[in-house]
């Protein structure tokens, strides 16, 4: 399963209480949609660190890296690469 699929599934299940992928576009901004606040982002970070074996540094906690499914997937790829 690709990182993007896993991340979307996690956010759908835990933030939208759904498995309906039409509810979350891969490029949807979590901030613009009001889906993930700063506490929610801590939860997403924990998921990323536990599921993908990466460590997210403080300076990496920016919307450019984390504010959509695709941005997160690209961030994981860069971290793992």
């Amino acid at each position: 399963m690709s990182a993007a699929v896993q991340v979307r599934q996690y956010i759908l299940e835990n933030f939208l209480f759904s498995t309906d992928t039409s509810l979350l576009g891969l490029d949807d901004s979590f901030l613009a949609r009001g889906l993930i606040d700063s506490t929610g982002m801590l939860e997403v970070l924990l998921f990323l660190e536990e599921s993908f074996g990466i460590k997210v540094a403080d300076h990496e906690m920016v919307p450019d890296n984390l504010d959509s499914v695709n941005r997160i997937a690209a961030f994981i790829e860069r971290k793992q690469g």
């Binding site: 901030l31 009001g34 606040d37 700063s38 506490t39 982002m41 801590l42 939860e43 970070l45 924990l46 403080d58 300076h59 906690m61 920016v62 919307p63 984390l66």
Partner: protein
């Protein structure tokens, strides 16, 4: 948007005599027509907001109908209690000190906080102090908290709190505000009084309060006043110098903690001006010039104001209903 330069003097100008009378009559009206209570309970922390709120309560209903509570716990600064007493005596109100530490101990508040501290900083124990510090929002990053601990030798240790640790330390710490509110309502019920909430505009707008803790009250007399105005009102009302000159602290963690590092990111005077500028449609360039920061940094301050509003909006709201029962407001 105005063409005048952005300044605290212009933003926070207020006719204090008229405003005090307006608030006092509003509180009297609320007590007699909506709350049907005979007086006011105010928890006094020794800080500027509760001091001005208590003074306004006295203006509204007279000293004999105001009951002051000083509610220290294990890590409360002794100066908080001494300033609280000073204020109560200055106002001539009935007051009492009740130590909430045994209740907090029984609820597991201190043990839970120490568990997190030990998990984050192995070696944490007797003689250590802690606080949590907000980071990120003003640099365009997501807001997150660091646990800062000081060992007995004075060395500082810092680490980012992960999700579960952050939730636990906040949940355990919130016992403090909620136990205090329980005591306030005990006395309000016993006396048939109403409870005064003491948030200023910055705290009220930005959600800097605990739901069912310090956020809970029957009347909030200064929720519309910027903190700069609250300080100015304290001086106008001639409250004791020790109170007028007090630095805002949370008095919630064992290591000294300013409200700016805990929540707002900027000292209150700058945060006040930023909120005023945001509310009055001032551009980021004007705010940056007034605060001596870049336009980009000022834009991050605006974004942070919006993010905190969004994240905390539910704190002040009524429960969300799934229907429209008769009698609902």
């Amino acid at each position: 948007m105005t063409t005048q330069p952005l300044s605290a003097e212009r933003a926070f100008a207020l006719d204090f005599a008229a405003e005090i009378e307006r608030i006092a009559s509003g509180v009297r009206r609320a007590l007699s027509t909506e709350l049907n209570r005979r007086g006011l309970v105010v928890a006094i922390s020794g800080g500027i907001d509760s001091s001005v709120s208590a003074a306004l309560a006295v203006r509204a209903v007279g000293a004999k109908k105001v009951h002051g509570l000083l509610l220290p716990e294990r890590i409360s600064s002794p100066t908080s209690t001494s300033r609280g007493r000073l204020l109560a005596e200055h106002l001539g109100i009935e007051h009492e000190v009740f130590d909430i530490a045994p209740a907090l101990e029984a609820l597991g508040c201190y043990a839970r906080i120490e568990e997190v501290c030990r998990a984050v900083h192995p070696g944490y124990g007797a003689g250590w102090k802690n606080k949590i510090v907000l980071e990120g929002g003003l640099e365009g990053r997501y807001n997150h908290f660091k646990l800062v601990a000081q060992d007995p030798a004075g060395k500082i240790h810092e680490a980012r709190l992960e999700y579960r640790q952050y939730l636990m330390i906040v949940a355990a710490t919130n016992f403090k505000q909620r136990v205090r509110k329980t005591m306030e309502y005990f006395h309000a019920d016993r006396l048939n009084y109403a409870v005064v909430g003491t948030p200023n505009r910055l705290e009220y707008d930005q959600g800097f309060f605990v739901k069912n803790g310090d956020g809970s009250a029957d009347v909030k007399p200064i929720a519309h006043l910027y903190k700069s105005q609250v300080y100015a009102m304290a001086r106008f009302m001639k409250l004791p110098d020790e109170i007028c000159n007090a630095t805002p602290t949370t008095d919630t963690y064992s290591l000294a903690q300013g409200q700016d590092e805990f929540y707002f990111g900027l000292p209150y005077a700058q945060m006040d001006l930023a909120l005023w500028a945001y509310e009055h449609g001032e551009g980021a360039a004007a705010l940056g010039a007034a605060l001596g920061i870049s336009e980009a940094a000022a834009m991050a301050v605006y974004a942070d104001i919006e993010a905190k509003r969004r994240a905390t909006r539910y704190l002040g709201g009524a429960p969300i209903l799934m229907g429209d029962p008769p009698g609902a407001a």
